[in-house]
Symmetry: C2
Subunit: 582 residues, 2 copies
């Protein structure tokens, strides 16, 4: 037996108990006559005590050989500590050692195993098994595990079945790039790894499974932006005989359940914001509603006063930064520089200070008198002491720019606390979006998303205005999930393919099995998929997903710990009837 | 709202309730004035009633348009049935329809959606979404879901963490053939899909995670035998600071828990049979112990009596078939033909009938008198009316042959009831096995398996006799899982690699990251992996795993529903810098 207890459970109720612990040497303090050792395992840290003269000589000798991260088995008696540590659960006791065995030695780790390590990104990735020993990462993976357990519990209680769909599937040119897998048994042919189980979950609805879910790995061979991974995990769900509200209610329940059980936070009813309103009031389809600062459109009060920039603009729109009227010239210049960054691209920023004395000071005083500025303030519901920030230009562009500014102001004013959570639904997304490059409409969600019944007649004349039965779950400005009510009718699906520029043959070739399936009694159905890595990071109060994945890849898609991908043997390639070309 | 209830829940307590159901048309019986419809969904079947003259005319009209597998929404009132069906939970009621809407039509399915379908294997695979509508398959997938839920529940209660390991890993030449994935971002390089998360779970132990599990897909590019799948699911587990007994006890607990919660069967303590004994008494490392018929070695009573076949044999060994002394000549000939089949390869079969009158009749009466045969019977604990079946030859071969005969007799005597479950542990497997082809020893389990401490000194002289800390979980003659205590010591691991014929360089190149990790305080650890598809099939009382997988592949590794693998676009290959060669 290698241990009777873990390093996280002994306390005053165990005094005088004979125990055996195993773990890693976290720290040794050798004060001459007395040696204290912090022994660490997954469950915590327990202090070991050795006293020269009193403890067994062999124990003292072994203790003096120990280095950081050695693995030991330690026997002894639980005793009360003289100076207690109230910060850890085992802080009132220590183990008076009677036996100490080294189970394994350790080279000195290349960085310290502490909450704040001194290891750089590359080094920590290379020695991921050491990085994973650090408490912050352990807590992240523990949180992720807890989230998966509770997700499954909720969905199981709601009568969902977890059904595994295949990983070796078929490549389709639509959407992102597939990872492919050459088939040795079928010469010249390839499987593809799934970007999502989309078609399989729809087939399961056709098959009558009614409520499906799966926590499942998905794959996308994209050029990796920061914090994207070529493989990622999804909570993938589908329901039959439902309308949009049934799905929103079911997964709103899940969100509330997860926050309640995992974070002990009660979430009120989720707002349901139409896409058009999200764009109008936040300039984003994933608004961060932890704070207000909603957009106010000012065309009627700001135009036709002789300020050409505004007069020429499609939209004049602003936000109110409360209690910021005392911003210095320097602070305002920084905000102006921020919106003028190439990534944001505004030409300039108009500010209006609503001073405490009721007067206004603005960057456009030349064009707007006090009365005019008061009309802005009234329209924007601003009060004395507030700062008004206004942008203008082409509608879609200026909304995006003001969104960035709003988020930046939220950051500056500490309105984006990572331990505050504000989920919402964004609904009624457009069905199609215009793609400049290919000069045709693409499905905004995917080609199986159903249009709103009342908008179908717009498909021919104003395709861009057709709304979809599509919805996103957004939390704290991050898109956590999205889904739609699917088309279950073969004729409507054909019509969609036509509008997406697929010929009958192309549609049949790529989605034939799904179209065929729809001929055999497909029920009304819809679903949602949530990004599980992102959800875990959000629950952990962090922006980056990387430390919520045990073995992530770097931005070149490499696992630098195992040094993969790598060259394979020539005979492996030969068996696959493939040749590398330069 | 598409339904207020499912088709499986209404009964007498719901009489007079107004309900809405949705589902598939299972059957229509039109008796002129009265129409009965069986409406089916995942939860069951509910009978709908329409009466010409009384029911709304439009309902009658719609009902007469229905075909098999149409999808409908039906409104009506729950009423008591005149002739009840006690076989289904909803058999006491029917729905008196007030409204009926067709949600989707259906072509006539190519086979019937019944428990025993008329569809052939190919057709059922092509229309898998229809095959999956059949109740036996739905029950299989429901059972599989239940098993996964309970597996996770047990392991979570035991403080295991589920941790996801990567799917895009590194190819290693050891073991079975890898599926590989070309990397576009790293030209000329490949990922491999995991055959198991073996090294990652060991790294997680080095990282201090202590108790890991994962229900995970694994991949093997093997020539598919019947009932093998290129992708399969494993319950993969690893524990640190454990010895073999800790692991056996933990997973024996899991087996009992699963049988108890999923099948309501109490399993007694699992026998732990040494590999050597399993071979000696059953001729197999995966004995079916639902029945006895243990081997009895007869060399001392059967040799040196002038029967050359026995005298020349390394081993004479037999089994007792109880109450089979009345087997006819024809039956005995069939058994002889059975053991002489090329796959089994025995030269002949010796039988001895222990007649009810106490006399013996055997196929070797020429060499053995009644007294001699009595001594066999006594040694084999046979009684009057029993049949003794004896084989002889080279030890390992004859054991395999007698194993086949024992299983065949078990089958014939109905001793292998699929609803009776007899799990056991087979322990103390040999560490190494001789490979004729490469003329060297291979790891029987894998190269990280630890030898028994007391056997290490045999490694040089008698490598074949070294026992490993390796164990298999066997149920009803099927290997459900296997595992081992791993080597956690770098020096011992190096010694093992040496004995497996790896040079230091080869070992470093293939397993360098694991060997490096072992230098930083690897704890003692071990684990197990269970075949989840197989476990589900076993719990379902079936031999084949295929109908416990939603979308299986056929024996050529093809998914014939989606027609995969398939040819990919030339530019996809080009981007990967690959070329097909003939």
């Amino acid at each position: 037996m290698l241990r009777s207890h873990t390093c996280g459970e002994l306390n005053l109720k165990d005094i005088n108990r004979e125990v055996t612990l195993s773990g890693w040497i976290h720290k040794v303090r050798d004060k001459g006559g007395l040696i204290w050792i912090d022994l660490r395992d997954r469950y915590g840290i327990t202090q070991l005590l050795i006293e020269e003269g009193r403890s067994d000589a062999s124990v003292v000798e072994t203790a003096r050989k120990l280095g950081r991260e050695y693995v030991v088995k330690a026997k002894g008696t639980v005793v009360e500590r003289e100076s207690k540590n109230p910060n850890i659960p085992t802080g009132s006791i220590e183990i008076d050692l009677t036996d100490l065995q080294i189970l394994n030695s350790s080279k000195t780790p290349p960085f310290t195993i502490e909450d704040d390590t001194d290891g750089g990104e590359e080094l920590r990735m290379k020695f991921r098994y050491l990085d994973l020993r650090r408490q912050p990462l352990r807590k992240n993976l523990e949180l992720r595990n807890r989230l998966s357990i509770e997700t499954r519990k909720y969905l199981d209680d709601q009568k969902f079945f977890e059904i595994e769909t295949p990983y070796l599937i078929k490549s389709t040119p639509e959407g992102a790039r597939d990872f492919v897998v050459p088939s040795r048994m079928n010469e010249g042919q390839f499987y593809a790894l799934p970007q999502s189980p989309q078609t399989f979950k729809q087939l399961l609805m056709v098959a009558g499974y009614d409520r499906y879910y799966q926590l499942v790995k998905c794959f996308r061979d994209e050029d990796l932006r920061a914090d994207r991974q070529p493989e990622f995990t999804q909570i993938d769900c589908e329901m039959a005989f439902v309308e949009q509200d049934d799905i929103l209610n079911t997964f709103e329940g899940m969100v509330k359940y997860l926050f309640s059980t995992v974070k002990q936070i009660d979430i009120p009813e989720l707002p349901r914001v139409e896409y058009a309103d999200a764009m109008k009031y936040y300039g984003s389809d994933k608004p961060d509603i932890r704070f207000g600062m909603k957009f106010v459109e000012l065309n009627d009060v700001a135009q036709n006063k002789g300020f050409k920039v505004f007069d020429d603009a499609e939209l004049v729109v602003g936000i109110v930064a409360e209690n910021c009227a005392d911003y210095s010239r320097k602070q305002l210049d920084k905000l102006t520089d921020f919106v003028k960054k190439p990534q944001i691209g505004a030409k300039g920023l108009v500010y209006v200070k609503y001073n405490e004395d009721g007067s206004f000071k603005s960057s456009v005083d030349k064009f707007f008198n006090q009365e005019a500025l008061l009309s802005w303030a009234e329209k924007m519901n601003a009060g004395k002491g507030d700062l008004l920030l206004v942008l203008s230009g082409e509608k879609n562009k200026v909304r995006k720019q003001l969104n960035e500014l709003r988020l930046e102001m939220g950051e500056r004013l500490n309105l984006r606390d990572p331990e505050v959570f504000a989920p919402l639904w964004v609904v009624d997304f457009p069905l199609l979006e215009w793609d400049e490059e290919s000069e045709r409409y693409h499905a905004m969600h995917h080609p199986f998303t159903s249009p709103k019944h009342e908008d179908i007649n717009l498909l021919d004349k104003k395709p861009g205005e057709v709304r979809a039965n599509a919805y996103d779950l957004v939390i704290n400005g991050v898109e956590i999930g999205g889904g739609s009510i699917r088309i279950h009718d073969r004729e409507l699906q054909k019509l969609m393919f036509k509008h997406l520029g697929f010929s009958d043959e192309e549609a049949q070739e790529q989605f034939g099995f799904l179209l065929n399936a729809f001929e055999y009694g497909a029920p009304p159905h819809g679903g949602i998929a949530l990004g599980f890595d992102r959800l875990a990071a959000l629950f952990g109060g962090q922006d980056s997903i990387r430390d919520f994945i045990a073995f992530p890849k770097n931005n070149s898609g490499r696992d630098i710990m195992i040094d993969s991908p790598s060259v394979i043997a020539d005979d492996q390639l030969e068996e696959l009837k493939l040749k590398s070309v330069k």
